[in-house]
Symmetry: C2
Subunit: 378 residues, 2 copies
């Protein structure tokens, strides 16, 4: 079944490698040369081989996160590291900034770890106002902020730098950032922005197979972890720190994905991270321009869900014309061999989502937009 | 660096595919045709494609676990599911059966989750006496047993069926089984033996790349999970149950490893699980016979650490002659292009370990034993 769908994709792809028709907001399409790295043989996870690999990966990962600190590798999805954020970082009560499905989930994870979460909620698609955060923190009782950088369910990009600056006005508030569809696609500076914890997954803008998640923790966060009770061991940041200082992982790591990461980091170095950010911005602009043209020139009343200035460079949620559902649009496109995302949760029919992230180019994206136009004007 | 070591392995392998010289007790060597499955393209983790894949995998996994229940797929190492065992299964206090490094770790995981663990400890290499377990349970205060089926650090095989029978003499005691180097190599019947929770990882006797872990939970275990507080979400068994009933996973799964599993389950079906158990038993017997011959005929005072009748079919820890260290032996073998495991933890110098598990054959194992003999008699 799977082989069949992969063969079908190959049959309709615009280039010889079969790349360029899979625009889900994750998992993203993985380039053949990155997939092939997974053919490497297994190695022990305690010897010299893993040390050499880990050392090499750290160089590239530090660049991607713009940090001087260790980048933790977790053999889990990013959700696991959201749980790590809660268990290690929240002392008693978090202020959870909710503006979509994943930021809502972050709040729920805090609660599932027997910790408190107070929500600052704005409508799905919008972003958070740093001043409102400041006012709430000023009242006391909050020791952490959970926030999503790029809301995959809406395409909204939160002003993380500003929110972090507000958090740092208070001695005892850490900022925990889900940058799952941010890191490696959207501009982000872990150290410069003083993010206490920032996490992502392998299968988003890094364009790797799923199976690994990555995070950077500040010294404040590590102090929280040292004091935390009830962390378990799998998501205990002290375990990551201890093992990775010796260039190992606390548990047997997802080796195949690490091999793929090795090749992908070389590709990212060649492109430069700034170049990668710029390519993602260009894909966002191409999408926005197309939506505007559809509206102005083709009479199809589409609009971009997220407000101008706060749109993610990796994913765009496009609002359908009134009384139209996105479901048949996504289905028709799939029949044509092109995969995009439907709306998420309560936005399922109201929007469709284009994951213009990872290794895609503006040219590949434009072929998808052309096909979308054909479906929408048919 | 990694490519180099993989090329080095290829240069010294006994067959054209490069297979047959990597005998760590995990990660185990992965056959080229299984590695290649990872070349399949990504698919969405919420659509029809994943459903078809999950349904197919369940058929094979149920056979491997000998269960009629759902087999949970966790994108983590097996350690993650040990934490799931503790968080979902232990109400207040576990009796932890400790006879090596991993059973000790199981006890530590229980404690790291803010639960109690009382240890029934025997010397490393030995196994547990069901009567002692019965006596302790009779005194009350215990609601769960943690036990390791095949102790990877010692090669000891615990009498799980008997220990489970004892657990079931008590209404309110669940048995939580780490069968990390058991499942798919050592005989195990999840349903028939009434195991409440049994877990393994992909990179052991299943001979897949690391990145996935698997478990089966009994109805008693699911009832525990429903009542448990502070489970978080990543290792909440109710989340697994809910998603997998719809043939999805709660979080983005490690797709590449699932593709490899798909191919591997076909291979296991072709061999039959009973055939696989038999092949592993034959590898254990060949190892034991070799140790005895080394002792009787070659004057090298080796011995098998685990007692007769309680030896794992997947891993053998061989005790070195008195006043000899295993470290140079393992190193010399590695120079010859063959990888075996050193001793684990406090047995580091006293033993070496042969991981005769996964897809290896007696013939490949015998080549390794010949090389070992050469080193030991040099």
């Amino acid at each position: 079944m799977v082989m069949k769908s992969s063969e079908a994709a190959l049959a309709t792809t615009p280039d010889a490698t079969g790349f360029g028709r899979f625009f889900l907001p994750g998992p993203t399409e993985v380039r053949p040369e990155v997939l092939s790295a997974q053919m490497r043989a297994m190695i022990g996870h305690r010897g010299a081989d893993i040390k050499a690999l880990m050392e090499k990966l750290q160089v590239g990962l530090k660049d991607v996160f713009r940090t001087e600190r260790l980048v933790f590798l977790s053999s889990s999805s990013a959700t696991g590291l959201m749980e790590a954020a809660a268990r290690n970082g929240v002392r008693r009560k978090a202020l959870s900034l909710v503006n979509g499905a994943f930021s809502q989930r972050f709040a729920q994870i805090v609660e599932a770890c027997s910790l408190e979460s107070e929500r600052y909620e704005v409508p799905w698609g919008e972003v958070h106002d740093p001043q409102v955060v400041r006012d709430r923190l000023g009242k006391g009782g909050i020791d952490a902020i959970t926030v999503v950088h790029s809301e995959t369910s809406t395409g909204a990009l939160n002003p993380i730098e500003e929110i972090s600056r507000v958090a740092h006005e208070f001695d005892d508030v850490v900022i925990l950032v889900d940058s799952v569809t941010g890191v490696a696609g959207a501009e982000l500076w872990s150290d410069r922005w003083q993010l206490d914890f920032v996490l992502t997954g392998s299968q988003k803008a890094l364009a790797l197979p799923p199976g690994l998640a990555f995070a950077v923790a500040s010294e404040r966060m590590m102090a929280r972890s040292r004091a935390a009770r009830n962390k378990g061991i799998y998501f205990d940041l002290l375990q990551f720190q201890k093992s990775q200082e010796q260039m190992q992982t606390p548990n047997t790591p997802a080796l195949s994905v690490m091999y793929a990461l090795d090749v992908q980091l070389e590709r990212i170095t060649a492109e430069t991270l700034e170049g990668r950010w710029e390519r993602h911005r260009a894909m966002r602009e191409a999408t926005v321009k197309w939506v505007e043209e559809m509206r102005a020139d083709k009479g199809v009343g589409l609009s971009v869900l997220a407000p101008k200035g706060f749109r993610s460079p990796t994913v765009t949620a496009v609002r359908m014309p009134e009384r139209s559902s996105s479901v048949p649009v996504v289905a028709a496109l799939k029949k044509a061999g092109i995969v995009i995302g439907g709306g998420y949760g309560k936005l399922k029919e109201l929007t469709f989502r284009i994951g213009h992230m990872g290794d895609h180019t503006v040219a590949e994206l434009e072929a998808v937009l052309d096909a979308l136009e054909e479906v929408l004007t048919a």
